[in-house]
Amino acid sequence: MTATDNRTETLVIEPQQAQGNGVLPSRPLNHAEHRAYYGVLPAPDRLPLGELASMIGHAGVRGRGGAGFPLYRKLVSVSGAARARRIAPAIVANGCEGEPASHKDKHLLWLAPHLVLDGLVLLGRELRATRAVLAVEAGAPNGRGDLVRRLREALNERDVRQDGVRIELAEVPGRFIAGESAALVSTLDGGPGLPPYSELSVRESGVGGAPTLVQNVETVAQVALIARYGPDWFRDYGTAAEPGPQLFTVYSGRQRPRVVHSAAGAALAPLIADAGPIDAVLVGGYHGSWIPAPLARHARLTEADLGAPLGAGLIAALPADRCGLAETAHIVRYLALESAGQCGPCLNGLPRIAAALEQLADPHQAARDRGLLERIERWCGMVEGRGLCHHPDGSVRLVRSALMTFRTEIAAHHAGQCTGGDRRPLLPAPARELVH
C-alpha cells in the first residue's frame, strides 16, 4: 500500500458504506488491487474502434460535472472536428471541482484513481487522441495536496506501452471557475485560466488548438466501468432519463459532508434524514437551486421531481433554525468574488446582487428598504446570459431559486423578523486572495 494511506483521514469526507455496492471501494486501491477489484481493463483488440462510443451511446452517459451533456454527442463532435480539421484530438479528465462544498471528484480520485486513468486510456484509444490530461486542483487545504502525490504514484504504476496512451497530470489553481472547460483549456495552454471569447467551442478547438473532449472525472470513471460491465449494467442504475450510478456530496444537519453513492430516482429524504427539521435543500451546487422542504420530503432525485438538475451532485439540507437568505447571501458574496472579473455585467452585477442580498438577509435593513427585491430581480436579468462563461447564469439561478423558496422568509424580513435564529454560514465559502 502507498505511504499516503494514513492521510485519508484528512479528507473531509466519509464514504457511506450502506450506499456503496461495488462502484467505489472503501479504501484507496493501488493498481494491482484495482484490477482485482474491478477486473482487468479490456484490451484494444477486445474493444474495436467505435465499439466504446456505441456502448457509451447505449448507456446514455451524461456529464457529471454539472451541465449533464450527453457524452456520446460530445464524442461525435470531437471526432468529427478532428476529421474535418485533420488534427488529432486531445482529452482532458476534469478533476477541478472548484466548488468548495463539493468533494465527490476528489473522493473518487482518492479511492479509485485508476478508474479515472482507465477511462482516459479508453477514451484516448477511441478518439486516437495524442494528448490525454488529468487536471486536478493544485495544493488546497484539507490534505488535498496529497491527492496530487497520490495521483503521481498511480500514474507511475501504469504501463504506458500497454495503455497505449500517456497521461499527463496537470495542477490547476483552485478557483471556482478554473474547472470551466474553456478556462481549463486556457490554463493547460499556459494562458490566464479565464474563459476566452471564441467562435469555436472547446470541442472544435481546445488544448493546443486540437479538438478537445473535456469530461468530468466521474464521467471518465464511468466509461471504465461501462467498458468492463456493459451499458445494461449502467442502465440498471437510475432512471431511463437519467441513467447510471452517481456520486453526491451530502450535507445533512451538523454532520460533516459525506460522499454518497446513489442514482437518479432514489428518494431524497433518506440522504438527509439526520438533518432534523429542515427549511430547504440546495440541489446541484452553488450554481444550483434551493428546493423547499415540503417538496424535498417526498421528492426523488430526478430533475423532473426536483424541478432542478442534479448538476454536480451537491445535496445540502438547510436546518430549520438557519436563515436561507443569510446562507444565500453568504454563497453569492463568494460567487461574486470568484467572478473572473473580465465581463462587465458579471463584474458589476454580482457584487450588487450580493450586497442587496446581504441587506435583505438583515431584517432591520430589509424592513427599511422595500425596493431590495425589485433591484435584485432587475440585476439578475441584466447579468443572465451576458458573459463568456456560465458563472453569471449559474449564480442568477441560485439567487432566483432563493427568492422563490424563501419568499415567506423575505416577507418576515420586510416585517423586521427573522425566523432562523442561527445565522452562522452552513456551507463553505473560503475567502480567497484576489488574483488580479
Binding site: G63, V92, S181, V202, N216, P345
Partner: protein
C-alpha cells in the same frame, strides 16, 4: 461569410469596456444596462446591416462582433448544457 448571409451581433464580454458607441449607432438593436454595457435585442434587421458594420468597426475595444446567425444545430433540452461553458 457571404455578405448577404444572416448575421447576429455578439459581444466579446471580456473586451467590452462599456463605451456605448454601439448603442448610439444602433438604437433599435442595442440599449445600455445600468453599467453602460450593451443589451443586444433580437435578430439584426437587413436595414441595419450597414450601420451594424460601422458599429463593429467603430467600437474602441473591438468588442462588437458580427457573426453568422446561429443555427439550430443542438438539441436544447437543457439550455445550460447547450452553452459551451461547463465542467464536462
Amino acid at each position: 461569410m457571404r455578405d448577404n448571409a444572416p448575421r447576429d451581433l455578439s459581444v466579446d464580454w471580456a473586451a467590452c469596456q462599456g463605451h456605448g458607441l454601439c448603442a448610439e449607432l444602433l438604437p433599435d438593436h442595442i440599449t445600455l444596462d445600468d453599467w453602460g454595457y450593451p443589451i443586444v435585442s433580437g435578430p439584426l434587421s437587413p436595414a441595419a446591416a450597414k450601420r451594424a458594420r460601422r458599429a463593429v468597426a467603430d467600437c474602441p475595444a473591438l468588442a462588437l462582433k458580427l457573426r453568422a446567425a446561429e443555427q439550430q444545430v443542438t438539441i436544447r433540452s437543457n439550455p445550460a448544457a447547450a452553452r459551451s461553458a461547463h465542467r464536462g
